[in-house]
Amino acid sequence: MLFKIRNILFCVLVAASSAFADSWSEKPDIDFYAHPLVEDAEDPQEYRSGRITMENGVFAFAVSGKKYPVDIYNYRVKLSGGERVLCVIEDGRAGVLDYDRRGPIALLIFLFATGVIALKAASGARALAALSFAMFLVFGIYVPAILKGAPPVASAILLCSVIALVTLYAVGGRGAKAPAAFAGALFGILSAALVAYVFLAVLKTRGFSDEQIQLLNYLARALKIPPSDAGSVFLAGIVIAASGVIMDVAITISSSLSSIQSVNSAITRKNLFRRGMNIGGDVIASMSGSLLFAYAGGALFLIVSRSFFTYSASFLLNAEWFAALIAGIFAGTCGMILTVPVTAFAAAFLLTKQ
C-alpha cells in the first residue's frame, strides 16, 4: 500500500513540475526523495531471486529449498504461480519486489549471439567478443573511474579509442584493414566529441532536461562526490553513443577498399582513395537515417511526453530537451561523415605503394 501511494505521489510530482530545464518554477530536486533508486539506497536489503509456488490457492516463495509465505510489496507484480520473482525476506515472510527478468534477457542474448555466429561464423564471434569486452570497459571500468573523479569527457575519448582499437583489430584481423579503420575511427571519435562540445556550448545546453542527469547532479552535490559537473557526463554519453556507428563505418570502408585492392592490385593510391569516397558516399547516404531512428526509438516515450508542452515550432526549437536530443544525432552523424575521408585516405595510403 505504501508503495502504491509513493508511486502515485511521484507521478503527480513529476507531472506537476514542468521539468524541461532552463527556467524552473520549482527546483526539480524535490522529486528525488521518492525516486526508486534513492528509495532502495536508503533501505539496503538482501535481495533473493526465487520461484513462486502455489499450493491450495496460497502463494509461497521458494528459494534454496525453503518456502516462505508471500507479501506483495509492488502492486504491479501480479502472481499466478510459477514465475521467478525478486524478494526480500523479513521475519520469515517474503516481500515480492519485482519480477526476475534475467531469464528472457539471457535467452535473448543467447539468440542474438547464435544469430550473428550462424550468419558469419568466425568474424561474427570475434565481433561479439569485442562488443562484450567494450560493454565491460564502459560499465565495469569507465563508470567506477568517473565516480573516483576521472574527468568524464577526456576519459570517454580515451575509452572509445581503446574500444575502437580492440574492436577494429578483432574484426579487421591482420593487414592494413584494421590500422586504416582505426585511424578513421579515432578521427571520427575526436571530431564527434568536438562537434558535440561546440554544439552544446553554443546552444547553452547541458543535458539537464534528462531526469537521470538531474538525479546525478543531485546525488553528486548531496553526497559531495564526483562528477563535479553532471553536464559533462551527458557529453560523455554522446561520445560513447557516437563511437559505435563510427567504428562500423570505418571498418566497412577499409574492408571494401582492402578487397578492391586484392582484386586489382595495380590500382593507384589516388584511384583507391576515390573508390573509398564513392563507397563512403553510399554508406553515409544509407546510414544517415540510422542514428536519427536509433535516438528517436530510444527516446520515444520522452518525445511523446514532452510533445504535450510544445505549443509551437519556436517552442520546440528553443527547448533544452530538443537541443539535447539533436546534439547526439548531430554529433554522431558529423563524426560518421568525417570518418569516411580519413579512413579512405589511410586505407589508400597503407594498401598501395604509390
Binding site: C11, V12, A21, D22, S23, V38, A41, R76, L86, P104, I105, L108, F112, G115, V116, L119, K120, G124, A134, V138, F139, L147, L203, F208, D210, L215, L216, L219, R221, V233, G237, I240, G244, M247, D248, T252, S255, M277, G280, I284, G289, S290, L291, L292, F293, A296, G297, G298, F301, L302, V304, S305, R306, F308, N318, E320, F330, C334, I337, L338
Partner: protein
C-alpha cells in the same frame, strides 16, 4: 535584484520582443535564480532569451515568463553547417539524403507522434510509419527499381517478425512500459483527459521497431543491391542460390554493424548506471528494474531486427529477380 523564497533570487528583466505576434513590444519578466546554476537562465544585458507569452482570445497579453536560452537561430546555423559538410563529403547525393532526413523528421513530428496521442495502436502506427518512411527514403536514395521493391519488402518483413519477437520477449519479461522515462507524464496527461489512453506495452514494442528502422533499411539496401548485381552477372543462378549468397554477404555487413545500436543505448544509459552505483544498488536489484531490463531488451531486440532483415531481404530479392524460373537450375 530582490531576494525571496529561501534559496531563490529574483531578477527583474526587461525584454524587447524580436518576433512573433507581439514583435516590437517591451515587456518585463521575472528571472528566478536557484542556488544550483544548472537550472538557471543566466542573462546579461543584450542577451537573447526565449519567452513564453500567454494571451487571451482577444490577443491581450496575460503573462510573460522566461522559458530559457534562445536556441532557434543557432540550431538553424548548425543545420546549415551539417548540409555543407554533407555536400563537401558526398557531393550532389547530399540533396537526396537531406530530403530523406527532412521527410522522416516531418513525418515523425507531424504524423506519427500526433497519431500516437490520439490512441491509435502504436504497433500499427509504427508499421505504417516504417512503410512510408522506408519507401520514401529508398525512392529518394536508390530510385524506383526492383532493387528498391526488394529492399522495402525485406524491411517490412523484418519489422513484422521483429514486432512478434518484441511481443514475446517483452511479455515474458513482464515489461509494462510504465517505467520508461516519460511514461508517467504521458499517463498523467491521459488521466487528466488531455489525450486518449495509450497502451504502454504496445508503445514499448513500437519504440524497438522505430529504433531499428534506419539500420534495417540500410542492411536491406545492401543485400538487395548485391543480389541484383549477382543476378545481372550470373542470370543462371536459382532463387535458392541467390538467396544463400545474399545471406552470406548480409553476414559480412552484420559483423560490421552490430555496434551502432548497442552503443547508442549504452551512451544513453550512462547516467542511469552511474546513479545506480552511487546509490549502491546491488546488481541483482538493478538489472531487474523494469526500466533497466526494458532498455537492455530494447537494444538487443532492435539489433536482432538486423539479423532478421538479412534472410528476409535475400529471399524477397532472390524471388523478385529470379522467381519466374523457380526451381530450374542449369
Amino acid at each position: 535584484m530582490e531576494s525571496s523564497r529561501g534559496n531563490t533570487d529574483i531578477e527583474e528583466a526587461e525584454f524587447l520582443i524580436l518576433n512573433g505576434k507581439f514583435k516590437g513590444v517591451r515587456v518585463q519578466a521575472k528571472n528566478y535564480l536557484w542556488d544550483d546554476p544548472a537550472y538557471n537562465t543566466i542573462l546579461e544585458k543584450g542577451d537573447k532569451a526565449a519567452l513564453r507569452i500567454d494571451y487571451d482570445p482577444d490577443g491581450e497579453m496575460e503573462g510573460v515568463r522566461i522559458k530559457g536560452y534562445s536556441r532557434g537561430s543557432e540550431l538553424k546555423l548548425f543545420l546549415a553547417f551539417f548540409a555543407l559538410l554533407l555536400f563537401a563529403v558526398i557531393g550532389r547525393r547530399a540533396a537526396a539524403v537531406l530530403a530523406a532526413m527532412a521527410f522522416n523528421i516531418f513525418l515523425f513530428v507531424g504524423a506519427f507522434v500526433p497519431v500516437l496521442k490520439n490512441g491509435f495502436n502504436p504497433v500499427a502506427a509504427v508499421f505504417l510509419f516504417s512503410l512510408l518512411s522506408a519507401g520514401t527514403t529508398l525512392l529518394l536514395i536508390t530510385g524506383a527499381t526492383k532493387k528498391t521493391a526488394a529492399a522495402a519488402a525485406g524491411t517490412a518483413g523484418s519489422i513484422v517478425l521483429a514486432s512478434l519477437m518484441a511481443f514475446v520477449f517483452l511479455k515474458a519479461a513482464h515489461i509494462s512500459g510504465f517505467y520508461f522515462d516519460g511514461a508517467r507524464r504521458i499517463m498523467a496527461m491521459s488521466r487528466a483527459g488531455n489525450i486518449a489512453e495509450i497502451d504502454f506495452f504496445l508503445m514499448a514494442s513500437a519504440a524497438i521497431m522505430l529504433a531499428a528502422l534506419g539500420m534495417a533499411v540500410d542492411v536491406s539496401v545492401g543485400v538487395a543491391s548485391f543480389v541484383n548485381e549477382l543476378h545481372a552477372e550470373r542470370s543462371d543462378m536459382s532463387v535458392i542460390q541467390l538467396c544463400l549468397r545474399g545471406i552470406s554477404v548480409g553476414g559480412d555487413m552484420l559483423a560490421t554493424m552490430i555496434n551502432s545500436l548497442i552503443f547508442v543505448f549504452a551512451g544513453a544509459s550512462l547516467a542511469l548506471v552511474l546513479n545506480a552505483r552511487v546509490c549502491g544498488v546491488p546488481f541483482l536489484r538493478f538489472i531487474n528494474y523494469e526500466a533497466v531490463s526494458g532498455i537492455i531488451l530494447q537494444s538487443l531486440l532492435a539489433s536482432f531486427v538486423l539479423i532478421l532483415t538479412i534472410p528476409a531481404t535475400s529471399l524477397t530479392a532472390a524471388y523478385l529477380f529470379a522467381g519466374h524460373k523457380k526451381g530450374r537450375t542449369p
